[in-house]
């Protein structure tokens, strides 16, 4: 059954890729992206609106009868590959994937229409580094009012709506809070293209979207989906790094030779190619398993994170190194990918955390 999942790209998926790439090539240039490190976010709202609304990407995972496109994790993963390839500073993963999955799994259909239409943007208020399946930090509730802080939340800065894990009397609940009812403090982030924020709730009124039992499952699924599909973003990052390095080394000359002809570099690039293609297999399998709600989806998600996170970091590090000095400069885009890759490695659990999770899933118990 899981043996039949298609790991190639369908024509539909390739056409999604083409339209996303065309838009990003025009409106998400390296200069534009680099500017976020100096706090200049000009044009990013428009970029997100073009992606979410004009291309309709915000509603990919939302069923058509709820106002979405009724697509699947497979198309989403291709979008993420392209967003990774451009290190795009947009809240697609946090809103259209993680928060949307949480609402879908919680059965909170009424909120999905606005999200799918790109009218509102949401974020699940957990630290970006949260490992799927582990306990999440929860705020407290008294008389319908929330108090507490959640740190290092991705997508909070762009969100209209926060989905907040709350410690209720009967267990974990999931509440919805308007973003302007929270105090959201931007954090200077290693990866400013996915800037995190600390979210403080000091008496915000909220509405429950899932109560005990349902909330725990919805959050778990949302995080696991995030981990599974982040792998495709990591693949996109790795692919850009490989492509741009190969391209540069075909032009750069030193010692009277094309640098890409030096065998030590050729062998490293060959190994990197193998790593990127391997990451593609892992990421495609994770997306296909999520799309099919395959029983293997948890294993697929953790395999993909355990592999692709490191592959992206390796690709970005090799990209900087093999560009030589110019790869260390602010004006070359390599650093955007290095920072994205390294932050992605910590997002939704490090590779080590996913290996530990796999130990339980595949019966390889610890010592």
């Amino acid at each position: 059954m899981s043996d039949e999942l298609d790991l190639l790209y369908t024509d539909v998926e390739e056409s999604v890729r083409d339209s996303v790439r065309a838009l990003l090539a025009k409106r998400c240039t390296p200069d534009r992206v680099t500017a976020v490190y100096d706090g200049d976010r000009t044009g990013l709202d428009e970029l997100w609106r073009a992606l979410s609304t004009d291309l309709g990407l915000a509603g990919l995972l939302v069923p058509e009868d709820l106002g979405g496109a009724g697509a699947s994790a497979r198309e989403v993963s291709v979008v993420l590959e392209e967003l990774g390839r451009f290190a795009a500073p947009v809240p697609f993963l946090t809103s259209a994937v993680v928060a949307t999955t949480a609402l879908l799994e919680a059965g909170a259909a009424d909120r999905l229409g606005e999200l799918a239409a790109g009218e509102r943007t949401a974020a699940l208020a957990v630290p970006l580094s949260t490992v799927p399946g582990r306990a999440v930090p929860a705020v407290t509730v008294h008389d319908g009012v929330l108090r507490g802080t959640v740190t290092a939340v991705a997508g909070a800065l762009e969100a209209d709506l926060l989905l907040v894990p709350v410690q209720g009397d009967g267990g974990l609940e999931l509440h919805e809070v308007p973003a302007d009812a929270a105090r959201i403090t931007p954090v200077t982030s290693l990866d400013m293209t996915r800037q995190i924020a600390d979210v403080e709730l000091a008496g915000a009124a909220s509405r429950p979207v899932a109560d005990a039992g349902a909330a725990e499952r919805a959050i778990g699924r949302a995080l696991e989906t995030g981990a599974a599909l982040l792998a495709s973003e990591q693949l996109g990052v790795a692919q850009w790094c490989l492509d741009s390095t190969v391209e540069y080394l075909k032009i750069r000359r030193q010692f009277g030779r094309i640098v890409g002809g030096f065998q030590a570099l050729k062998h490293r690039l060959a190994d990197l190619y193998v790593a990127v293609e391997s990451a593609r297999a892992a990421a495609r399998y994770a997306a296909a398993a999520v799309a099919a709600d395959d029983p293997d989806r948890s294993v697929a998600a953790s395999v993909a994170q355990a592999y692709c996170a490191d592959a992206a970091v390796l690709a970005a590090e090799e990209c900087v190194q093999l560009h030589g000095g110019v790869g260390m400069t602010w004006e070359h885009p390599a650093h955007l990918y290095l920072k994205r890759a390294k932050a992605d490695q910590l997002a939704f659990g490090t590779p080590g955390a996913h290996r530990a999770r796999l130990a339980g899933l595949v019966d390889l118990p610890a010592a």
């Binding site: 043996d3 298609d6 790991l7 190639l8 190969v246 080394l249 075909k250 030779r257 094309i258 890409g260 002809g261 065998q263 570099l265 050729k266 062998h267 690039l269 060959a270 190994d271 190619y273 193998v274 293609e277 391997s278 990451a279 593609r280 297999a281 892992a282 495609r284 399998y285 395999v303 355990a306 592999y307 080590g352 290996r355 530990a356 796999l358 130990a359 595949v362 019966d363 390889l364 118990p365 610890a366 010592a367």
Partner: protein, 395 residues
């Protein structure tokens, strides 16, 4: 349409089974009948064991015959013949050669081996020095070959030799079918680090080969050999194994069965390699799915690189896991194994045998060159040996 083909094939299999009941028919007789029915390799032409159908339909035939209890041709006994000699004969052989060689090759009546590598020509196969000199309607061959598996059982060999030392190295070779019963052929077992001798050295002294056992034109040996080696690569890349197939399975079993050996350090290393093995399996599946819809490409090289690395790391890890038991070895006795199982015997054997995985069938270094040049388009290595006459090259 595919359904029509399958229906037709099913009928053909039924007819074969009706005419030659596997329960009562002699094994060889059955295999010959199967060949003659075009059910040996359906993608081969009619009259040569096939029906000119798409290759992937063979699975269907094999499954039907297996279910009916029919004997197979024990393909592992003649891997070189089936995997390398047969497609080369099909592509470059004369009609006579195809008629003569393919049937007993497929049935396993005649085993084949390969006389390509030499002590001085490993990765650089085109440097080979075995001489083939024309002598009327025959050739006289002298030289030494190495890494020949099954030479002591083979009836025939595919052979590349240098027919024109005055030509540049890639242009002076010719490809032959060599009779292994010729008195000038001497086969010596080549013992390897496991203690076994999977391979042989083959010494050729005034071996006579009739010119009608030449495959392809004189001087075209390199092109023919390249086609042969392409088939080797494809063969290595194939198959859709289940999770935990291969080396990871052996180590995971030890881990589960011997909880007293576990340590936190080994745990994470095992999980890393488990993940990489699983990703390699998924990569292999992608490759197969791609092949099914079209372009093969040199991605098989990537698969083989990963396979060799993982086999080596896993088998090395297993010995560390076993610690005291890793100090033991099953048997150093010199033997000629029937069939080589990379994951067979004991952990020490697996460790030593895996060292060959990155050498045989294209070293990992050569495969990295292939990926870098053919996939990534990076410049080739500077070379000085391509145009000069072979005889003038330093050796």
């Amino acid at each position: 349409m595919a359904q029509d083909l399958i229906t037709g094939l099913t009928e053909r299999v039924d007819r074969l089974l009706a005419d030659h009941d596997p329960a009562t028919t002699d094994r060889l007789e059955f295999l010959r009948a199967r060949f003659d029915a075009g059910l040996a390799w359906v993608h081969f032409p009619e009259g040569l064991g096939g029906l000119g159908l798409p290759r992937d339909l063979q699975i269907h035939v094999d499954a039907l015959l297996a279910r009916a209890g029919a004997p197979d041709n024990d393909p592992r006994r003649n891997a070189i013949g089936l995997g390398m000699a047969a497609p080369t004969i099909l592509a470059y052989g004369t009609e006579e050669q195809k008629k003569r060689f393919l049937r007993p090759l497929w049935t396993g009546e005649e085993i084949w081996c390969q006389l390509f590598s030499e002590p001085g020509a490993g990765s650089d196969l085109a440097a080979l020095a075995t001489r083939a000199e024309r002598d009327g309607d025959h050739w006289r061959v002298n030289g030494q070959k190495v890494w020949t598996s099954g030479a002591h059982k083979a009836r025939w060999a595919i052979l590349v030799a240098r027919s024109d030392p005055g030509a540049p190295k890639h242009r002076g070779m010719t490809y032959f079918v060599c009779d292994m019963t010729d008195p000038g052929v001497e086969v010596r077992p080549l013992r390897q680090i496991t203690g076994e001798a999977e391979f042989n050295e083959v010494f050729l002294t005034d071996v006579r080969i009739p010119d009608d056992h030449r495959l392809g034109a004189e001087g075209e040996g390199w092109r023919v050999a390249t086609a042969t080696l392409m088939n080797e690569r494809v063969a290595i890349g194939g198959g859709d194994p289940r999770r935990e197939s291969g080396m990871i399975g052996a180590v995971a079993r030890t881990w589960r069965e011997r909880p007293e050996l576990r340590t936190p350090e080994l745990h994470d290393r095992l999980l890393r390699l488990w993940v990489e093995s699983e990703v390699a399996r998924l990569s292999g599946r992608r490759l197969r799915q791609k092949l099914a819809v079209g372009e093969p490409g040199p991605e098989g090289s990537a698969a083989k690189l990963t396979f060799a690395r993982l086999a080596q790391q896993l088998s090395g890890l297993e010995l560390e896991l076993l610690a005291e038991d890793g100090l033991r070895y099953s048997d150093w006795t010199m033997r000629r194994p029937e069939i080589v199982e990379f994951t067979g015997r004991d952990a020490g054997y697996r460790y030593l045998r895996a060292k060959g995985n990155s050498i045989e069938g294209g070293t990992s270094e050569i495969l990295r060159n292939i990926v870098a040049e053919r996939v990534l388009g990076l410049p080739p290595e500077p070379r000085t040996d391509k145009d000069a006459p072979w005889k003038d090259l330093p050796r």
